[in-house]
Symmetry: C2
Subunit: 418 residues, 2 copies
């Protein structure tokens, strides 16, 4: 079978399996996820053996220690992966909910029923736990899923996929509801992205270049976020103790993630007080600072921020600092340089809080809280399948419900249209 | 300026204008639409003069009488176009609604605010009233809009666009919030479909070939429906009087639209009673019938339906008829040949009604009502911008709300993440 034929078969099988998954009851889906969790734990030894092959290959290819750590599966991580599936089993099933049922003047009742999307393709890199996490969310929401991980984790992903597929079969369900692409050929991704007849949604998870590659080549809708350039704006009359605590949390608690603060904007009225204070605090915590000319008048030994700094997602202990004349300038800066991820205002001013919430374009806007909260779990969505910074279908952190859509249900008694 | 530069400027101007439109109050938007309605009526004479140029050109190109009729603008139609804008002004403004605001264990409050999508591109054919209808819906939902009608209506569309743009200017609003592409060059569409940085959504309205062209070339998300192959399934124990009335309405009332019935499926238990009766009735109303072999045993002078008939959107007084063994066969037929538009079951059986609603994949599923109800207005969405038969973002008839999305709003009191 040629590669295009092989991918076509995978996609068609997934489509057929998706019809079965769409009609499963919540208890059946939850039971399946719990069995998958147990099966992963029961196969810990073989999973670790397969993972060791990826680690050895990674060492040979000279992957960094950090990369190797992301690849690693040990007992604790396999257990965490299983617990992730158990947590998804606990979440309410979004499928089948009928809402907004209303009687129309014609007599018909019209409402909307939540249904699975159908077949979801996940294209990801590095961490093998994504295989189980994404599979859990897609199956719980009644979808079939095709998973394509990175070549660096191919042995681990295949092994996880085989265990999960086997659990589907044991449960009398179509194993094609969950398929892991076993080829690492990039052509396979390109073929997958052409199967618009069978696949309803593609979610790429990984670095910006992977996401751009997928978005450019896909004929299937893609939900994506390229990067998180999150801003915190300290308003003129902000509580500066609160501002300091939030800045520390947003920058230092976990700098390598997309909801960490990358740019600090400070109102000129409080700049002389706040900038020397926050820069000293952050420097003590190991943060490197890059400031605009005005902020460098206050803290002269800061490096000068360039145009690139305003666009940078450092994912590191680095922070760009800019003094702005007022809230308009802050909003304009964010709407120019932001990535539509998460933006924060620290303020005591009611009208400013309202304006910031309304006028900032991003998918998450916050008042007086750390950008680090921008996360499906923290928002009460349960586990998170990704964060969308594009506006169609989903905008912001995505949970189970974002893997579904709604159809119209019409209940009549013989009505005809006049 | 080259064509790509020209389109880039249009798209960038629209993006800038969209920020202004996003923050307009409902009264401001409603006032704008009412002024536009008055302006269209005040300019009836000049609109008819411009329209006459399209009609003359159409005659020269040998357009059919039906096509020429669709192009025509007379006083009554201009008035109807203005009334359409007035009706949209009456609809509730979806923008700014905050819903699902809940306190999380961390202390933060998380909710979702409805916001405009940004810039919407509408690519359409033939009827010039789409220019005003689509503009009204896009502006009311706080978006900027770029309109690209067909070359056959170019004079009419330009004239309508000029009137609406002028009204924006008079109201002190950016005229770039509504732009009509004045070139009929197909390259212009291709350039527009590349402006993913500025345009958030493309909605093609027209024939299947236009929609396929747009979907294939767009790097911007497209909401589309190719065709409506709507089914009505008469269950074994259906009320046959009701079934007959609904079939007449669904097939004959307005056969040229996408929610008309194209295929009738009849349970074998009632086929011998119902098929002779309904075929006689429909023939009397001028409907041509094409039947499966079993139905032709009952009505031998029906033409034999071929595989193409099961896939056909006739948009005409033609109906395909098939006898099916049971509800499973009916659902299987629909899920194989359907277009995800609208499907109907006529039944007295509660369990069957539930199964049909749950298991049929289409965007609208109905029990005991005519498929002709499948329409945004009938469903209570107000005016309709289109019907989506793809599942992402919107599925089924689309109203104002489908031109918006939701962002997360987080209200805190200094919370940081643990």
């Amino acid at each position: 079978m040629s590669l295009p034929e092989e991918i076509a078969t995978i996609a068609k099988d997934a489509r057929i399996a998706s019809r079965v998954m769409a009609n499963l009851s919540a208890p059946a889906k939850n039971g399946l996820l719990l069995s998958m969790a147990s099966a992963l734990e029961a196969d810990t030894t073989s999973l670790m053996t397969e993972n060791a092959k990826d680690i050895a290959a990674g060492r040979e290819r000279g992957l960094s220690a950090a990369m190797l750590d992301r690849l690693l599966l040990d007992e604790k991580r396999i257990s965490a992966m299983a617990d992730g599936l158990r947590e998804v089993a606990e979440l309410p099933d979004p499928v089948g909910e009928i809402s907004d049922m209303r009687r129309r003047p014609s007599g018909i009742q019209v409402g909307r029923m939540r249904i699975p999307l159908g077949v979801i393709g996940i294209i990801y890199e590095s961490r093998p736990n994504v295989t189980a996490d994404a599979a859990g969310l897609c199956l719980k929401s009644g979808n079939a899923v095709i998973l394509r991980g990175g070549s660096e984790a191919i042995h681990s992903n295949r092994a996880i996929g085989a265990i999960l597929s086997r659990t589907l079969q044991v449960a009398g369900l179509p194993s094609a509801a969950l398929q892991v692409l076993t080829t690492t050929d990039r052509e396979a991704v390109l073929e997958l992205l052409k199967r618009e007849e069978e696949i309803d949604l593609i979610i790429p998870r990984g670095g910006e270049s992977l996401i751009r590659f997928v978005a450019e080549h896909s004929r299937i809708p893609v939900i994506k976020h390229y990067k998180g350039v999150c801003h915190t704006f300290i308003d003129a009359n902000a509580d500066l103790d609160m501002a300091e605590q939030i800045c520390i949390n947003a920058k230092v608690q976990r700098p390598g993630v997309c909801n960490a603060m990358e740019t600090l904007l400070v109102h000129s009225d409080c700049a002389a007080t706040f900038i020397p204070r926050i820069t000293a605090t952050l420097r003590n915590l190991g943060v490197e600072l890059r400031g605009c000319p005005i902020s460098r008048e206050l803290v002269p030994d800061m490096a000068l921020a360039t145009e690139e700094d305003w666009q940078a997602e450092y994912l590191d202990l680095i922070l760009a600092v800019r003094v702005v004349a007022d809230i308009d300038a802050a909003i304009a800066h964010i709407n120019t340089y932001g990535s539509l991820h998460t933006e924060v205002i620290i303020t005591r001013d009611y009208a400013h809080s309202q304006r910031f919430v309304r006028e900032v374009n991003s998918s998450v806007v916050m008042v007086n809280a750390s950008s680090r909260f921008s996360d499906g779990n923290q928002f009460g969505l349960g586990a998170e399948i990704g964060i969308s910074t594009t506006k169609l279908h989903s905008f912001g952190p995505m949970g189970l419900e974002d893997l579904t859509t709604r159809k119209f249900v019409v209940l009549g008694n013989g009505e005809v249209r006049a």
